[in-house]
């Protein structure tokens, strides 16, 4: 089947940048269609550290990013309070860190406009008792933690309310060029293979690390370097404040309490592929041992899950640092007007930046789109709050437990770790209508299978409920079950020692011996990329 329709702007990429851009376009009266090849927030925006930067991290090396972060930090708190937990942040120096650094850092913060508050080591440890006693300097900054999933969904819902639309599980296969203009795209449904064509007055390429690939579809070259970073979620929060090392940015500097876990990270490893999600053993060791300096004992805690994301690093040729790599490349972003740069109209690429600065990136990219389309409306996304609750929507177990105990969450517990009930699961399945639903979709909707057991118990239950609701065949259900098991395993595989090794043993026992899933599930023919 080949359906076609036309929109003002086709936005490629359902990460934070694309979602913010679709929202901005819709507010300025340009009808956007956002396309995302997987689910919303599954690219870099779903594989990040969870930190709403104050900018402190960049205050020495990258003042421009630092200044952008502090401004956008305040904007996001205002427009998306439901997605942000105001944990506050600490920068902590230990005797192992360069003694002259705090001075330089403070100066940078001052220039960038980042408020800092000097506190004593004792105050820091009163606030966060798990911190090391070996503190030589401590400062408070306005860091926060951010749920990118809630943020991106809010941008997309608001876009829809304004007449725009979003298509998930659709990949841009090709950009359509007519002479010196991009005029639309061929899309493919990544689950059914169905094709369709969309014509658009302009295409906004917000494909994150894949932005080079997407530009390539129009025959254009955007030189992007890739930098991989790993993160580890620990079983509990450990701290309630974001903790940063006060030293030149390095591996394993940051601890972010988010939802029920504490995310440790990250690393910086050059790679040649935008979807290289490997995690090497040394990265795990490094992250744990660095975190252990700040919070002694944390390395013996239970590590739940690890993941990696790929930063697209782009330096405009005019910056003249051709050979900068990893953390040397600035974290600010670039908007590429291909009309100016390459003489091809109808395509704008936005790349780099931070999740914290996604709204600003969108604003500047949409400015360029608007100029091409002759739209003169001004950006208003920093003003009005996004529709949504006006308080943080914490994903903490206490909240769910309270509801369970007071009858506000009916139905049996299906996922005990994350307290997901049958009623929630059924409602989430219903929300897909007659679209296909993967167990992994339900995981992202509900946190199903994200706790300590990593779906050992709930995957069977959820498969049973999914089959009941959808009337699937046995083989289809087994396939869905097997896919979920594979997906969950990928994130624990780097962490298999001690507690989590025992957990996976139990899960494997359930799948193989109790259920015989290994006999039934097809072994996949192709190896996962870069595995």
């Amino acid at each position: 089947m080949n359906t076609s329709h036309s929109v003002d702007v086709l936005v490629v990429g359902g990460g934070a940048t694309g979602a913010a851009a679709a929202y901005d376009l819709a507010r300025r009266g340009m009808r956007p269609l956002l396309v995302e090849q997987l689910d919303l927030s599954t690219g870099t925006s779903g594989r990040y550290h969870g930190l709403l930067h104050s900018g402190g991290r960049y205050a020495v090396r990258d003042l421009e990013t630092a200044a952008e972060c502090i401004v956008e930090n305040q904007v996001l708190r205002r427009i998306a309070p439901f997605a942000i937990e105001d944990t506050g942040g600490l920068f902590i120096a230990t005797p192992d860190d360069p003694a002259d650094f705090p001075e330089r850092w403070l100066a940078g913060c001052r220039t960038a406009g980042i408020p800092t508050e000097s506190i004593t080591a004792a105050q820091a440890r009163t606030q966060e008792p798990a911190l090391t006693p070996r503190i030589t300097a401590a400062y408070r900054v306005p860091d926060g933690s951010c749920d990118s999933f809630d943020l991106i969904h809010a941008f997309v819902e608001a876009t829809r309310a304004l007449g725009g639309d979003a298509l998930i599980y659709h990949r841009v296969r090709d950009l359509i060029r007519e002479g010196d203009a991009v005029v639309g795209a061929h899309l493919e449904d990544t689950r059914t293979g169905e094709r369709r064509t969309v014509s658009a007055a302009c295409v906004l390429n917000a494909a994150g690390p894949w932005a080079g690939v997407v530009a390539g579809l129009a025959g254009l070259d955007v030189g992007i370097k890739f930098d991989r970073g790993a993160m580890i979620a620990m079983n509990t929060r450990w701290v309630n404040t974001i903790v940063n090392r006060l030293r030149p940015a390095d591996d394993g500097d940051i601890l972010v309490p988010v939802g029920t876990v504490c995310v440790l990270g990250t690393t910086s490893v050059h790679t040649d592929h935008p979807d290289d999600y490997r995690i090497e053993a040394w990265e795990v060791s490094k992250i744990l041992s660095e975190a252990d300096v700040v919070v002694p004992g944390i390395r013996h805690g239970r590590a739940l899950r690890a993941w990696a994301g790929v930063r697209p690093l782009y330096e405009p040729p005019e910056a003249g640092h051709d050979d900068a790599e990893g953390r040397e490349v600035k974290r600010t972003f670039s908007v590429i007007d291909h009309a100016q740069r390459d003489g091809v109209r109808g395509l704008v690429t936005v790349v780099g930046g931070k999740l914290t600065t996604c709204r600003l990136m969108a604003e500047q990219a949409v400015d360029v789109v608007a100029a091409q389309l002759g739209n003169e409306a001004r950006c208003t996304t920093a003003g009005d709050p996004l529709p949504g609750p006006h308080a943080p929507r914490y994903h903490q177990l206490g909240g769910r437990l309270h509801k369970l105990e007071h009858g506000e969450l009916p139905g049996e517990l299906i996922c005990e770790c994350e307290m997901v009930t049958r009623a929630q699961l059924e409602a989430a399945i219903d929300a897909y209508g007659d679209q296909p639903v993967a167990l992994d979709d339900l995981r992202r909707d509900l946190r199903l299978g994200m706790g300590p057991c990593q779906a050992g118990f709930c995957s069977y239950r959820a498969a049973g409920i999914l089959q009941q609701k959808k009337g699937h065949t046995g083989p289809d259900t087994v396939e869905a079950f097997g896919a979920f098991v594979d997906e969950r395993f990928r994130g624990v595989r780097p962490l298999l020692w001690g507690h989590q090794l025992r957990q996976m043993y139990l899960d494997e026992l359930i799948y193989r011996r109790t259920l015989g899933l290994d006999q039934l599930a097809e072994q996949p023919t192709e190896e996962p990329a870069h595995a």
């Binding site: 744990l288 049973g464 083989p475 298999l496 043993y505 494997e508 799948y511 011996r513 039934l520 996962p528």
Partner: protein
């Protein structure tokens, strides 16, 4: 203050054998040593893997014909395999001893036939597993030569068993089946968390069973067997099974579902009671923190209590602490593997750190190297080997899952090895060899 007459007697004095661990291997070692007249004490942190396992006894799942012959053939060419160490009469007698003890305790385990063929039992997903023995409730579900129709019964709304999931997969295995969910006559919690144990306790009631049977019977017409989740009572499974079968009018069988496993709980409870009736001591919930060694022998173990440790003395020590799952072998992030009680040498997968431990996919064929390769090596007396290849300690024996050389998740022999090695260790420890 009057002098305490027992003050100078070390705790555990008068014990011949201390068994550390309460898995299948530990409990059977304790039972056999007790039967042989030894004074036995079982000390374990918690129950072993039977509590989370399906409940059947895999000796050599892949054997098409005579299981024992297949094991003998395998052991002959794999001299380091635990079956080869235990030697085949230990396997045969270990299984026999297990059946006897279990039977005496109201937990009969049945085979398909006398010729040692494996059973064909269905899983909750409709896959076929082929253990050699199973608790009667599961063995009743043998599908050898059964084309159906089989009726599968679930309980409406119960999260741990979805009978419809099995239908298509069973059909692919040549068995016609249909599924039905009935409302349970009573749900005491009325809310969101009914555990297998909650349901099993309901099935201990004869009235409850009669009510359930009444609801199943109309669906059972023409069914050659009726399968329910393995929660049919805790106290008297044989009676529960007979009642249900009679009232429904077709043989009823049990299908393992998510842990905790009622088959494992029944067996553990029964063996504990039996051991205690026979004057063995059973301390479950007590961590052994260290074995104390002098002159190549273990003199005693130290058992953790609140803030201190108590010594327990014995002549012989059977180490049945399980493998990586139950704490018999510990692992850390750097790739170190160690045995925490005696610091015995642990066989380790080749390669750097943890690199070689796991493959890419959880359910990949043949499983993961760590589960096959990590463990203790032992000699034919079941004594763990020291660095020099000789027995590490004169009076310490290693059994069950703790041993290297098999993968309990994929090889289909975990329980057989537990039984064979437990039997052999008791024979050598108590010098019972005829």
């Amino acid at each position: 203050m009057p002098e305490n007459p027992r003050a100078n007697i070390p705790p555990g004095a008068g014990t011949d054998v201390i068994v550390i661990g309460a898995g299948l291997a530990g409990l059977m070692a304790a039972a056999q040593a007790t039967q042989a007249g030894a004074r036995v004490r079982v000390i374990a942190n918690g129950w072993g893997q039977q509590i989370v396992s399906p409940g059947w006894i895999s000796v050599c799942d892949r054997a098409d014909d005579d299981v024992i012959a297949e094991v003998r053939g395998y052991a002959a060419i794999h001299p380091d395999h635990p079956y080869a160490l235990a030697e085949d009469d230990a396997m045969v007698r270990g299984i026999e001893a297990f059946r006897n003890v279990a039977q005496q305790n109201g937990q009969p385990y049945d085979m398909r036939d006398k010729d040692g063929h494996n059973l064909r039992l269905m899983t909750a997903l409709g896959a076929i597993q082929r253990p050699m023995l199973a608790p009667r409730g599961m063995a009743n579900g043998d599908l050898t030569g059964v084309g159906g129709p089989v009726l599968l019964v679930g309980f409406t709304g119960w999260r741990d068993f979805f009978p419809a999931l099995a239908i298509d997969n069973l059909r692919a295995a040549g068995v016609e089946a249909r599924a039905v969910c009935i409302d349970l006559p009573a749900n005491p919690s009325g809310t969101w968390d009914l555990w297998p144990g909650d349901v099993a306790r309901l099935f201990d009631g004869a009235d409850f069973r009669a009510a359930v049977s009444g609801r199943i019977k109309p669906h059972a017409k023409g069914a050659v067997k009726v399968g329910l989740p393995a929660v049919l009572g805790l106290e008297n499974p044989v009676e529960a099974l007979a009642d249900l079968s009679e009232q429904i009018g077709a043989p009823v069988f049990e299908i393992p579902t998510l842990p905790p496993s009622m088959a494992g709980v029944r067996l553990s409870n029964a063996l504990r009671r039996w051991l205690m009736r026979h004057r063995a001591r059973v301390q479950v919930g007590h961590p052994v923190v260290r074995g104390v060694v002098a002159n190549g022998r273990c003199t005693h173990v130290e058992v953790g209590a609140l803030g201190h440790t108590n010594p327990f003395y014995a002549d012989q020590f059977i180490l049945a602490t399980g493998g990586l799952y139950n704490g018999g072998i510990l692992s850390d992030e750097t790739g170190r593997l160690w045995e925490p009680l005696f610091d015995l040498p642990v066989a380790t997968p080749p390669g750097d750190g943890r690199e070689g431990w796991y493959g890419e996919r959880l359910l990949q064929e043949r499983g993961h190297p760590i589960h096959r390769l990590a463990g203790l090596r032992a000699n034919k007396q079941m004594q763990p080997l020291g660095q020099d290849g000789g027995p590490a300690l004169e009076n310490v024996y290693a059994v069950g899952h703790l041993l290297a050389g098999f993968n309990p998740l994929t090889d289909g022999c975990a329980e057989g090895i537990a039984l064979a090695t437990a039997y052999k260790a008791v024979q050598t420890a108590l010098q019972l060899d005829e």
